[in-house]
Amino acid sequence: MTRFMMLVSALIAAALPAFAQQDGPEARARFGPADGPAMVLRSTTDITVLGPTLQDFTARNPGIAVAYEQWGSNALYEISWRDCEAGQSRADAVLSSAVHQMVDLVNSGCAGSYRSSASAGLPAARRWRDQLWGVTQEPAVIIYNTHLVPPQDVPHTRFALLDLMRRDEPRYQGKIATYEIEASGLGYLFAFEDSLEASTFGALMEGFSRARAVATCCSAEIIKGVSQGEYAIAYNVLGSYVNARRDPNVGVIWPQDYTLMLSRAYMIPKSGEQAYSAQKLLDFLLSGPGKEDLRAAGLLVSGEPEDSATPASALHTIAISPVLLVALDRQKRAQFIARWRAAFGR
């Protein structure tokens, strides 16, 4: 197992120069009975988003309490590795938006197997080895500030965004934001998936460079920035985090050329102590009521986007498969980040 540890250390060292010291959960919460043992769920999802779903779960399963820990995706990846190494997992379930990291954990034999009629009913792109399941469906969208971007400028495709960035208008200079891919596992995954659609991605890089785009951290901050007019446009934002009531002046676009669909990956660590509760939670998330809760939280959008101009065939689900291992490859990642840094002038 030492080779894993070395690999992990190398990855962490490469990926987290600024955040390496941040090694605890960002937030905690507890659902269900206040006393007695609780199953530990570690997730990258904001507590406020997933909270109601967990509340419903513990209400339906009175014996089970859920101790929720919210982590950054890279930190979650690191702690999961350490647990796997140690052969004893503090977490009983892990739910991460950085699917490629979860695939790597499963590929390294860190996950326990489970099969139920609900899990077997998932499409092939949303399950792997009966050890990793995609429980949500969230689009990667372009958002814009409705005051700063005139209707004729609203980019409905990546090509429109490209044209916008190439116009060298001061209105958009330094006002386009996207994820900092070195800090956000999810941002990296989105960018990597974009790179597989090669032709557009090269041009996008060039466009970001020309428009002096901003790479920054975290969904909430980016959305807030767009809402308050700090940024005019943000690219590859997780659509499920945009809340019309909380974030006024934000328009959402499902790119019509293709819209990446993220399915957060749920894993039950092999060495977790409360695997049964974790399995119950998985079955709940895949059940009718669980799906209703996720849908209410915006984590499960149906195939039909509100922006109905995007055809369903343009929805491109990020398949949970070993192909995602390429995204985590040390040299691949180094090359990718080098290219990214060059575009953002760092």
Binding site: V106, R129, L325, V326
Partner: protein
């Protein structure tokens, strides 16, 4: 037609035996087929997925380039898409420089990784799962970098196992279908083959108890053997039953008249007061009783002969021995001590297939007839006439009247019996014996007298 369900002592039904035989064959064959199919399936799965593994390793090796004097891997997605064709298997990959330093991918030692350009497959573990690996070397000889870069790609075995099991399952399903068809065909064929037996059984059950006629032989050769044997058995039974019936009716008929005469004589004797006359009656009574005894002897002998001719084994024998034995026993001297009996036999053996006792009895009867009813000297002889062997008795008298001769074909002559004489019975014995051994009884006058001949076919080859 009712049919006995189970016959005591019958062994297991032929159908059940064949079915269990075929079933056993199928089970053994199925096990062998399963093993063979699994072996084949494993080989096929290994070959297919080894190709995927090698393809991926080649893809990765192709993607190695030298940048700034160091090998760099631009890991191709295509390689992993290839590996993902085994959708549920974990993947291992590692690219190492000439000094064994890991360029990218998994670290940690792998003993079997070779340095040869030809790909090398090997089995090892990935964590706690068995896995298959391939190691492939690519040599660089450039100004800035020279050395061998090794690519190792591995994959767990789920897809392989699944494919092998799938192939095995398919083969077994095919074998099972074939087996069931074979079983059904076997049952059908046996059922058809056994149908004649059932028909014969039905016929036997439905038969009149007195019907001993042969059964039809339109049956398969295997069954015909049995039917033939049964028919022969029934024919013998028929003859014996007929002989028995004849004996009983003959005996009753033959005995009724003499016994009635005896009773009358006895009544007369008891009623007679004159001693001299009673003495006379008693003498007659005595003679009659002796005659009755002789008749009984003859009848028994006939019954014996008829039984023997049917049951006794035929052996090659010399007719001269038979004649000699009868003459030498000198029984005729008791019957007619004053009469002259001459034996006339040749130098050469006259062989027939027959039973000595039956022939002796027949000859004894003919001799008795000649002594009793014939006249003058009696000659007993054996001659060979063409393919016929003849055993004959000749007296010097004229023989019976033509009228009697005509009736000689009947079983016996009632009139002869009724007077306590039994020429007819003796002839009938001789005739039965001749007939039983495939010959005949000839009666007729010769120049010197009356001759009775038992004529039998010669035994063809002397052994």
């Amino acid at each position: 037609m009712s049919r006995p369900a189970v016959i005591a002592g019958a062994t297991a039904s032929l159908k059940r035996r064949v079915i269990s035989g075929v079933l056993a064959l199928l089970l053994v064959g199925g096990a062998v087929a399963a093993l063979a199919a699994f072996g084949y399936g494993r080989a096929a799965a290994r070959e297919s997925y080894d190709r995927l593994l090698l393809g991926a390793a080649n893809d990765i090796a192709e993607a190695i380039s030298i940048q700034n004097g160091a090998p760099v891997v631009d890991l191709p997605v295509a390689a992993f898409q290839l590996l993902a064709l085994a959708p549920d298997d974990r993947i291992y990959y590692s690219v190492r420089g000439p000094d064994g330093a890991v360029l990218t991918g998994a670290t940690g030692p792998l003993a079997q990784a070779g340095q040869t350009a030809t790909p090398k497959f090997f089995d090892s573990k990935m964590g706690d799962e068995n896995a298959r690996f391939v190691s492939l070397a690519r040599r660089f000889a450039e100004r800035s970098f020279s050395g061998t870069v090794t690519v190792i790609v591995g994959q767990t075995l789920r897809a392989r196992t699944e494919m092998a099991l799938g192939l095995t399952r398919d083969a077994l399903i095919a074998a099972a279908i074939g087996g069931i068809a074979l079983l059904a065909a076997a049952v059908l064929v046996i059922d058809r083959a056994m149908r004649p037996l059932r028909r014969i059984a039905d016929q036997l059950v439905g038969r009149d108890p007195h019907d001993l006629t042969p059964m039809e032989t339109q049956v398969p050769a295997e069954v015909a053997v049995m039917v033939g044997a049964m028919n022969r058995f029934m024919a013998r039974l028929d003859r014996q039953v007929a002989a028995m019936r004849n004996l009983i009716s003959d005996t009753a008929h033959q005995l009724r008249t003499p016994v009635a005469a005896l009773r009358v004589q006895a009544e007369l004797a008891s009623a007679e007061e004159d001693d001299a006359r009673r003495e006379q009656i008693l003498t007659r009574l005595q003679r009659r009783t002796r005659s009755l005894g002789e008749l009984l002897d003859q009848m028994l002998s006939r019954a014996l002969v008829i039984h023997r001719t049917d049951a006794a084994r035929r052996v090659p024998l010399d007719l001269r021995d038979v004649a000699l034995d009868v003459i030498e026993s000198r029984d005729h001297e008791l019957v007619a001590p004053s009469r002259d009996v001459v034996l006339e036999i040749g130098e050469e053996a006259v062989m027939v297939m027959a039973d000595t006792l039956s022939l002796s009895e027949a000859l004894r009867n003919l001799l008795g007839n000649a002594l009793k009813h014939g006249a003058g000297r009696v000659r007993v002889g054996v001659t060979q006439e063409g393919a016929q062997a003849c055993l004959w008795v000749e007296d010097s008298g004229p023989g019976p009247s033509a009228e009697v001769l005509e009736r000689i074909g009947e079983r016996f002559e009632k009139n002869a019996a009724s007077v306590g004489q039994s020429a007819g019975l003796g002839l009938s014995i001789a005739r039965a014996v001749a007939f039983a051994f495939g010959g005949e009884l000839k009666l007729g006058a010769t120049g010197q007298g009356f001759r009775a001949t038992i004529s039998l076919p010669m035994q063809e080859e002397q052994i």
